[in-house]
Amino acid sequence: MTYIVQDIPVAAQAPPPRPSGVIGWLKANLFNGITSTILTLLCVALFAIAIPPVIRWGLIDAIWQAPNGPACHGNGACWAFIGEKFRFILFGFFPVAETWRPIVVVGIFLLMIIASCNRRMWGRRLGILWILGLFVVFALMRGGFAGMSQVETAQWSGLPLTLILAVVGMLFGFPFGVLLALGRRSKLPAVRAICVGYIELIRGVPLITLLFMASLMLPLFLPAGVTIDKLVRAQVAFILFAGAYLAEVVRGGLQAIPRGQIEAADALGLSYIQRTRLIVLPQALSMVIPPLVNTFIGIFKDTALVIIISLFDLLTMAETSLTDANWQGFYVEAYIFVGVIYWSFCFFMSRYSQLLEREFNRGKRR
């Protein structure tokens, strides 16, 4: 039964010298064990085989200036092709003289997206901002006033078209999705059955079929003499599609609301609409913002499908640029150019959504 008393505090010492610095890090992360060492060597070998040819092709042997296609074919990439075609790929058939208009449109979209990331904007202000922004976008694209020439929707193409399809699809699909989600959870069997049926139908079929349906069948559903713009047809397909997927996302949020919230609202005498609008939806929607952003990323990528129905979005413009008789065969350059644009949008949006998710989880942990 020995006592021990140690009133003199033991000073903190430095940890024993581990191999630190670069060597230490290498040992710990790349060479810790036999399998690890073998893997590291394999990866390094892979780099040695793959990277130099790519750098040679993309940078060293690349041709940056050329008057036409045949002069640009060499061992390396032909970035002169991009220099020649980038305006065409980005803005398509829009009149060249007024290219400033689609540039401003893309700028407006970027600004609105960045503004939406600011937490303080969330709420009704954001909805109004987007609607105003879209209004300006449509006005600029259409023109026909203030000295701007009128441009038909058939000529809207490239990046602005991609953004319009994705954004309008989400913007209109969102309230539609909320209604579907509420309907799916309704106690009225007829409403519930129809909402479930719609959601499962749209989610069960490929987007291509919806685009076909919109472009081939929608004209048949309208009264004689009523024509519908091709862009509008595609837009309707995206809205119907987005609505079903967003409905499932919102449903997840609705399911996470504790019963007690609804009971408290009822006890206070709120009607169904009041309770939904004031209590349930604000909580549900704020919970599902990361999946909402992910859905937007998905829809943004899906806009590339409109090549099927001959709408000239960004990818279709890239394909079209490859048909120029003077500039044949620069597939890789074109796809890389367009790929980088898509990738940038999607990558940064997905990082943002991961950031949101981390913050949300941090708030949840007690």
Binding site: M1, T2, Y3, I4, V5, Q6, D7, P9, V10, A12, Q13, A14, P15, P16
Partner: protein, 252 residues
């Protein structure tokens, strides 16, 4: 009060143990001996390294300097030694850590079957015996998710006991429980103590400590500050820091 006399060779011995998390010196020159049958209660403010210390005893944490010997086996990087030590040392966690995809009975028989290589029948008999000991024999076929916190922790104790360990480690076993369930778990631990199990327990339950402990160990900021039998520890703490801690903990 335990009435078993601790025998001579120490079951657990920590000699000049130092551990760092990166640059942070979390265990500073720890010296500790636990004899067979001895019950040691470790207390101290949060961040003092008590959990880290007992987790070093079954190698859930690695120490960088010093020597740890458990039941005669030295704890180092040798996997065989680590496996041998873990077979003899049972651990009960603050968060229970029961396996949710297995029934209570399966939780208890998993290690005896796969580590001690017992036939299923024998493992189940032992399991049912210990379930009886922790007073929940009728929950054998339920899943952990269906039990209350106190029941889950008692199952966790039974799970460790099924391996018939020489030493039992408790890492704040009642801290995650609602107050009304703490007593049922402490009762089980008192029963274990009375049978002569060697125990090292990190806890804030001073009533339990007074009843069961042979030795109180107070840790603060990574060092062992004071070590004394409970009678002297509570009545006459020698160090200022011990006094300060006790005055906070025993205030109500």
């Amino acid at each position: 009060m335990s009435d078993s006399k601790p025998s001579s060779a120490p079951m657990i011995e920590l000699q000049a143990v130092n551990k760092w998390y990166g640059e942070f010196h979390v265990l500073r020159d720890i010296n500790l001996q636990v004899a067979r049958g001895e019950k040691v209660v470790v207390c101290g403010p949060s961040g003092s390294g008590k959990s880290t210390m007992i987790r070093c005893i079954n190698r859930l944490e690695e120490h960088q300097q010093g020597r740890i010997t458990v039941a005669g086996i030295e704890l180092n990087a040798d996997l065989k030694n680590i496996d041998a030590v873990r077979r003899e040392v049972g651990m009960v966690f603050q968060q229970f850590n029961l396996f949710p995809h297995l029934t209570v009975l399966q939780n208890l028989t998993l290690a005896p079957i796969w580590v001690r290589k017992l036939p299923k029948k024998e493992a189940e008999e032992t399991a049912r015996y210990y379930l009886e000991r922790v007073r929940i024999p009728d929950q054998a076929d339920k899943y952990p998710g269906q039990l209350s916190g106190g029941q889950q922790q008692r199952v966790a104790i039974a799970r460790s006991l099924c391996m018939k360990p020489e030493i039992m480690l408790f890492d704040e076993p009642t801290s995650a429980l609602d107050p009304e369930m703490i007593k049922e778990v402490l009762d089980v631990m008192v029963g274990l103590a009375e049978e002569g199990m060697t125990m090292v327990c990190v806890t804030h339950e001073m009533g339990f400590a007074r009843t069961v402990a042979d030795m109180m160990v107070f840790m603060d900021r990574g060092e062992v500050i004071e070590r004394a039998p409970p009678k002297d520890f509570f009545a006459n703490p020698k160090s200022d820091r011990t006094r300060a801690f006790l005055s906070q903990i025993l205030a109500h």
